[in-house]
Symmetry: C2
Subunit: 170 residues, 2 copies
C-alpha cells in the first residue's frame, strides 16, 4: 500500500472539505478555512490562514466571522499578545449538531411556517382538484417536515452516545 505524505493529505482534505462546503450552502473558502483549522494542533492567526490558503485578509476576516456565527469556530487571545487566534470546533459530532441547529432554523422553520400559512387556503375561483392537490401535497410535506423537526431537535440536544447508540441500533 502506497503511503501518502502530509502535505498531499492536507491538500486532499482541504479541497474535499471545501467542495463539500459549496453544496452545503457555505462558501468554498469558509469550508477550507475550517479544514485548515481542523488540521492545526494549535489555534491560528488570520495571517497564518491567509498564507496557508493564499487568500485575502478581508476574506479571512469575513469567513471567520461566519464560522463563528455558525458556532463551529472560536476566537481566542494569548496572554501578552495582541493578535487574535482562531480555533475550530474539533468534536465532529458537535460540529454536526451545530450545523443541524443552524439549518433547522434557517431552512426548516421558514418552510414549516409557509406550509402552516397555506393550510387555511380557500378559493372558489379555482377548481376543486387544484385545491385538493395543494391541500394534500402541502399537508404531506408538513407531516414529514414536522417529523424531521422533532428528530433534529432531539439530535441537537441529545447526549452524543445516547443518540448514536439509538441510531446505530435501528
Amino acid at each position: 500500500m502506497m503511503t501518502v505524505n502530509y502535505s498531499d493529505a492536507k491538500h486532499r482534505f482541504i479541497q474535499q472539505w471545501g467542495a463539500l462546503g459549496t453544496v452545503w450552502g457555505i462558501s468554498r473558502t469558509m469550508a477550507q478555512i475550517q479544514a485548515v483549522l481542523l488540521l492545526s494542533p494549535e489555534p491560528m492567526t488570520a495571517d497564518e490562514i491567509m498564507e496557508e490558503l493564499g487568500i485575502s485578509r478581508g476574506n479571512v476576516s469575513m469567513s471567520l466571522k461566519s464560522l463563528i456565527e455558525w458556532g463551529v469556530a472560536t476566537k481566542e487571545y494569548k496572554a501578552g499578545e495582541r493578535k487574535e487566534y482562531f480555533r475550530a470546533e474539533k468534536d465532529i459530532y458537535r460540529v454536526a449538531t451545530q450545523v443541524a441547529h443552524e439549518r433547522r432554523k434557517r431552512e426548516l422553520e421558514p418552510m414549516l411556517h409557509m406550509l402552516e400559512s397555506i393550510k387555511d387556503m380557500d378559493d372558489q375561483e379555482v377548481s376543486k382538484s387544484k385545491r385538493e392537490e395543494m391541500k394534500k401535497v402541502s399537508s404531506n410535506i408538513l407531516d414529514l417536515g414536522k417529523k424531521c423537526d422533532s428528530l433534529l431537535k432531539k439530535f441537537i440536544s441529545a447526549e452524543k452516545n445516547w443518540f448514536l447508540n439509538k441510531i446505530m441500533k435501528l
Copy 2:
C-alpha cells in the same frame, strides 16, 4: 383567521421551495419547476411550465432533465399526443429517499474515500503533533461519516412506516 387565496398560496409555495433549492445544491428554477409539478393534479407539458414560471424553453428542458436524473420527476406520453408530459413524484417520503440516495453518492462517498486515502499518511518531514492531529481529526470524521452512511443506506431502502416509526420512537 384570515384565509389565503389559491394563487397567493401557490406563489408562496413555489417561492419557498425554490429558495430551499438554492441551499440544497440545486438551482432555484429546478426547485420551482418541481413545486409547480407538485401542485398540479395533472402532468404538465414543458410549454405550460414555461408559461407558469415565465422562463425559457431551454431552461425548462434542462431543469426537467436534472429532476429526472435526481429521480424526483418522470416523463409521460399521452395516447395519440406528440407532446411530452411531466409529473413530479408526489410521495414526499419517496422524494426524501431519492435525494438521500443521490447526495450520499455525490457527497458522502467521495468524502469517505478521501478520508480512507489519508489513513496511511506517514511523513517524517512534519511534526508529530501535526501528524497526530490529522490522524485524530480524520478518523473522527470517518467514524461519524460511516455511521451516517449506514443510517442513510437504511433510510434509502427501508419501508416507509417501519423507518418513521423507529425514528419517532427515539
